[in-house]
Each structure stands twice: as C-alpha cells, then as structure tokens.
Subunit: 417 residues, 2 copies
C-alpha cells in the first residue's frame, strides 16, 4: 500500500466519450475524496473498450493508492469492469450465490435473463459492496499496490454505496482526513487577474490558493500555513481590494443583498433596462426570496420606462435612456409604483451595438433609492461581451443596493471592470 | 500525422479534481468530435500540477492524432497550459503583439496587470485562435505526431471558438464528414431520456446521433446514412414528439419567439412571478431584442400583482396566486398596462417549499393574451429542482407565446415534464 493518499477516478462508458451523457461521477467522487484528504490525480472517462480500459487500469494502479472505477457492471457484453479488474488482479471471476439470491429477489415475478448471472460475479478474494438500489453489487480488492473499488454507474446506486460502504472502508484503510484547514473567501467585481495579483502581494507563510470563477463571483480557497497565516492573508487582501469586494466564506451577490434586506427589514423593487430581468432572476434564484423581493419592472423600451415607471418623456428624451437622470428617475419611479422600501435601477449599453463615442458599449448607470431616504447614482464602465456586461451590471447593482440598505458608502465606481 | 481520427480531451483545473466544479467540456467536445468522425479515446480531468500535466500530454500525444486541452490559459501562476505545451513541442513561448493589442482593447481605460502579458503568449510556430469573448486566445500546433489545440476554460469562450475556428481546422487537417453530411436539430421541452427513446425508435439506415444538453434546449446531430435517411428520421421524430418540440437546425426558445414576433410585427410584454425575470433575461440575451421586447413586470409578491398589474385583490385571494384565473389576469393586466401587442404571464410553485397536495411544487399556470384577440391559459406540471422548474417554465412560456403569436394551437400540456 502506498503512503500518500492519492486517487484516480475512472468512469467507463462509450456514451461518455461520445458526449451522449454527462459524467457526474468524477465531480461527486472528487469532492468526497478531497474531503477525505485524498489528492485526486485525475478523472478519466473511457469508452467500453477492453484495450483502453486495461491500459488505464494498469496506469492508475501504478500512479495512485486508490482507484475508483464506476460503470461497466451491467449485464451486457460491453460491460467490462469485472473481467478487466480480475485480469489485472491476476484472479478469476467467482460466482456469489448470495448476490444471485439478492438479484432474484429484486426481479420477483419478472424473467431473469441468463446474462444477469454475470452481475453476481466478482474477482476472487474481492469482498462485495451491497447495492440497495440496483442489481449489480460493487466490489473492492488490491491490484498491485492500489486498492481498486468498483461501483455501478447509475448515480442513485453509486452515491449511497459510496457513502455507506466505501467511506468507512477508506477511513479504515487510509486513516482520517488530513488536518490541513481551508479558509474560503469570495471575490466580487474583481477581475481574475487582479485577484491573483492581490493574492500574490499578500502571500505569507506558505499559504497557497485555488480559485473558481462563477458567473457572479470568484470563490477562492486558502490552504497550507497556519490558521493565523490564512486569516492574515485574507485580512491583507481585503484591505488591498476593498471590503466590499472580498468577503470571508462562500457567498454570492444576491445572498448578500438578501441578508442586508432581511437585516434592515426592507423589501426591494427593481427597475431593469439593459439587464432585462437578470437582477430579479438572481434574487429569486434563492428559495424564500419572497420575504425580501417585492417585484420589479423590466423597462427595456423607452415607452416602458414612461408607462411603467412614470418617467417624464421630455426629460428622458433630453438626458437619454442611459444617463444619471434616467437611472435616478427609474429608481424613484419604481419606489413610487410599489410598496417596497428600496429601489434599484440599471440602465446601460450592453452591446454589441448601440455604443457611441460619448457612451461606449459598457456604459451603465445604476441608482439606488431608499423610501424616506436619499437616492444615489453611480456610473460604471464595464468591458466584455454583452453577456459579461449584463452579469457585471447585475452584480454591481446588487452590491450597491446592499451597501445603501446597510447605510454604507459604496466603493468608488470610476474604475473599469 | 497519424491516420485514424482519434482524440483525447484534457480539462485542466484543480477545481475539477477537487470536485468543486463540474467539467462539461469533455461532454461538449466529445459530442462535437464524434459528429466529426473522431473516436474519443478518453476524457481526462487534471489538477493544475506541472508533472501530471506533462505526463498526460506526452501520453495523449502518443495515443491520439488530436489532443484538445481546455483551461489553464488564464493569467495566473497555476495556469500551466502554455508552458507545458511549449515544452512538449520543444519550443519557447513567444509574445504576440496583436494578441496583446486585442487584450488591451478589451481593457480600455482599465489597468492591465503585468500578469496579463502571459495571455498574449503562445508556443513558437503555433497559430493563435481568436477569442471574441475573453482575454486569452487559443492556439494550435504539433506535439510529436499529434495536433494539440488549446482553448480557454470558460464555456462561453470555448464553445464559439471551437465552432468557428477549430471545426474548420479539423476538417482541413483530417477531412471527414462535411457540414452537409450532418443534420442538426433542436429538442425543446423534451426530457433527455424521451429524446433518446424517440431517436432509437425512429432510427434508420445507419444514422447515428449525438446530443448536447443546454439550459434551455437539447441540440442534436444526425450523421451517417443518406441525406434521405437523416431527413426521414427527423420527420419521424417530429411526428413522434410533436412539431412544437422538435425543430430542424440549431435554435433556442427566445430566438423562436423573437422570430415569431418579428414575423407578426408584434411586441411582447411579460408578467413573471415564479421565474422572477428569467423570461425577460432570455429575451434580452439576444442583441437587438428592443425591436420585439417591450418590457415586463416581475410580480413576485401578491402586492406587486395587484399594484403593477391591477389584479383584483379579492379575486387573487379567492383563486390563489397559482391559478388559471390569476395567470389570465396577469397576462391581460400586463397588456393593459403596456403598449405591447402580446402579453405572456407565468405563475407557479418553483419550490423547494410552498407546495401542497392540490398544488405540488412544479405546478405552473401560463397564459398568453393577444391585444384584440383571445387569452389562453395552460397548466403545466414540471419536475426537478427549483432551477430546473424555473427554466422549464420560461421555455414553455416562450414556446406557448410563439404559437399564439403565429396563430397556432399549442401542444397539450397535461403531460409531466
């Protein structure tokens, strides 16, 4: 048995390598194994091909201490996992009468095909792993110095088998999860390269990091070093990049705004032009959003701005749809038309067309009005595709609204994003 | 160059092998490559680790004629693809001033970090692949006898780059079926397993298929057999699954509705409850949507339904927010409040909470009202997560509106989705 906790995950099935179905096992198992302290060296999708399977199994069992094979345990001829694993272990397949009985019990009243007998077989000396939700049991045993665990492909069979049977087995064989702690953080409205530069500048005590870019945020993890080192790095990063942009833990803009609204016992109304409903979509992604999200207006046309929000057509004409005046009038109009306590409005040029020298694509005005309070507006200049400009606008609007609802000043927006 | 069309797909990123995010590139690329006549020998997810990357690239370029590397082209130190591919090709990295100019143009007025310079570099002799949606161009060139193609990780950058630049490159280098030998189709509101079953049932003359599941549709390709076989299969599939659900070519619900609105010289107003703005978001994803999309109301709370759409509070109370009466009143109210010609309204229970025995999670009423015409409503029962129910609701609403705007009857909706 090798010392380090290293693992390779192999998903077998031609439907994976022809792109017919999406492999989800690598993600599930990688997440579980990482939590157990394993380093996953790779995930692999293979077609049902004996030579490729044999080659990959040989390589994986040399490279890693643990190899998890998913799929290929069905009754048909292209289900190869049993045969290839037995061959690699230098043993024969043996029939397990108790597995056969269990299989027959599942088929009560239905004709069992002879090909199903294969599903009661496993490499000699490999204990079975019970499958409460399907016909094929799993099994585990050594191939060279690696523990090989074979599990069936259907996720509703594999996942409970992994949790109930494989996790205890791995704890027993490989010991508990590593003590290495992780500190999570979220970066908002920070380009990936700026985040990296900030992390590098604040680096200390052998702390390393990983990042994951989502459509509305970047989640990062700090690991290694001491807890004090990781916390110090996060503190330095926050003062370098602004507390509005760096948050401890994993969060998202809509969640931050929702928490602020709950905290302030406030409800929100939106007035969206260029985002077309995206802010409302983000807010209502969260279950239970009805406690804080009153509703909104998608005022894509000028006529909608006039009819739904009561904007003055002359003023709209004079200042233009993308202007501070219009953004403020939208936020105040949305408040006036609703029973909500806070109104956020966005109007901008998402492109690819519609830009001009004075108002290039990416020019966005955002305004937040509070009932019985003030109305503030900010100009942003976003770069990127139409999709990116719209997402950045929605994120900025949610963070601006969060700050105003909490009575905080919002960061200077003159920078480019 | 090897003869057979064999390929290996490598996705780089520690977030993949730690199970933080789901790799979707292997599936997308495997489907596309299969359609181009390639046998995909394996898909691999690797952590950002130089030794593992080097090893896998060496092995892949021995095993296959084509190696596609995704990810690892960002500006940060754990982005290794450029360095490892250059090393494997035995060349140095060279700076591309034109790529740097393009990158600077994207950053207009913003501070470009020095780490970004790395994104304008590629292995010597490797032509760049333009990236219209991001900062990192791709590149391609030979490593041993394999063509290696490197593409950035974000799907909205990778997918158009693959379609526009890599497909023509592969056709030129490897030959294979031309675009005229593939028949593309789009399945809407069809569960993946039903589509698969339908395809299998209608199969003829050695036609094979690949599918790609997107958030609002499944795109499928038919290849092999004769043109008549492929067209016959599509015809049979359409009559099996309904012409509203199977469309020739690659399309999407918002595009179909936009085309119908343009055709009928009609504008649209939305009234969204459970979707919270998602229909507006989908409609305005398309540039130029202002020609057909007038605007909308996000009426998440009952109060918003009353104040923004003029619903009668007593009737709303009596029938409930999720009812045929409310859906119709919402569509008609949206029309009355706007200058648009067609109104689409959705109200439903997206879950996970809020369901009851009579109205379980997934119960959705959709209504479409035409100015000077009738108002029709349909009951849908969607299954899945909150996110899936919301997406399915938005898709059904757009297709229902398309049918009504074109004066067609809409499919029976009583089935489960």
């Amino acid at each position: 048995m090798c010392e380090a906790r290293t693992a390779v995950i192999v998903s077998a099935g031609t439907e994976l390598t022809e792109g017919i179905i999406q492999d989800t096992h690598v993600r599930f198992l990688a997440s579980e194994l990482t939590a157990l302290g394993f380093a996953v060296l790779r995930g692999v999708q293979l077609p049902d091909d004996a030579a490729l399977f044999r080659d990959e199994l040989a390589r994986a069992s040399r490279d890693a201490c643990l190899v998890i094979v998913t799929g290929g345990l069905g009754p048909t001829t292209d289900d190869l996992s049993r045969e290839i694993i037995a061959e690699a272990a230098g043993t024969a397949l043996v029939f397990h009468p108790e597995a056969w009985e269990a299989l027959l019990a599942r088929f009560t009243g239905r004709k069992v095909s002879d090909t199903n007998r294969k599903q009661a077989m496993a490499p000699q000396g490999f204990p079975l792993i019970a499958n409460p939700n399907g016909t094929a049991p799993g099994f585990h045993g050594m191939v060279g110095s690696a523990l090989v665990v074979a599990l069936p492909g259907p996720p509703n069979e594999l996942r409970p088998m992994f949790s109930r049977s494989v996790v205890p087995l791995l704890r027993e064989r490989f010991g508990g999860p590593g003590e290495e702690d992780i500190l999570w953080g979220t970066a908002l409205m920070v380009p990936e390269s700026n985040l990296e530069e900030g992390l590098r500048k604040c680096m200390r005590g052998g702390v390393t990091w990983g990042t994951r870019v989502d459509e509305d945020r970047i989640v990062f993890s700090l690991r290694g070093g001491s807890a004090a080192d990781r916390e110090g790095l996060l503190r330095d990063l926050t003062s370098t990049l602004d507390a509005a942009r760096i948050r401890q833990g994993e969060t998202r803009p809509a969640l931050l705004l929702t928490e602020a609204l709950l905290h302030a016992h406030t409800t929100l109304v939106t007035a969206e032009s260029c985002t077309g409903g995206l802010i409302g979509k983000y807010m209502t992604d969260l279950a239970g959003s009805s406690r804080v999200f009153w509703g909104g207006n998608v005022v894509y046309s000028d006529e909608a701005k006039v009819r739904l929000l009561g904007l003055n057509p002359r003023a709209l004409q004079e200042h233009g749809a993308v202007s501070e005046h219009t953004a403020r009038a939208m936020a105040e109009g949305a408040l006036a038309m609703s029973a909500a306590d806070a109104g956020v409005a966005v109007t901008g040029i998402a492109g690819p067309d519609g830009g001009s020298h004075e108002k290039p694509v990416g020019t966005v005005w955002i305004a937040v009005a509070l009932r019985g309070g003030d109305c503030q507006a900010r100009l942003f200049t976003f770069s990127g595709s139409r999709d990116m400009i719209r997402r950045r606008t929605a994120v900025a609007a949610m963070l601006f609204a969060e700050a105003r609802v909490l009575g905080r000043e919002f960061l200077d927006s003159r920078a480019k994003w």
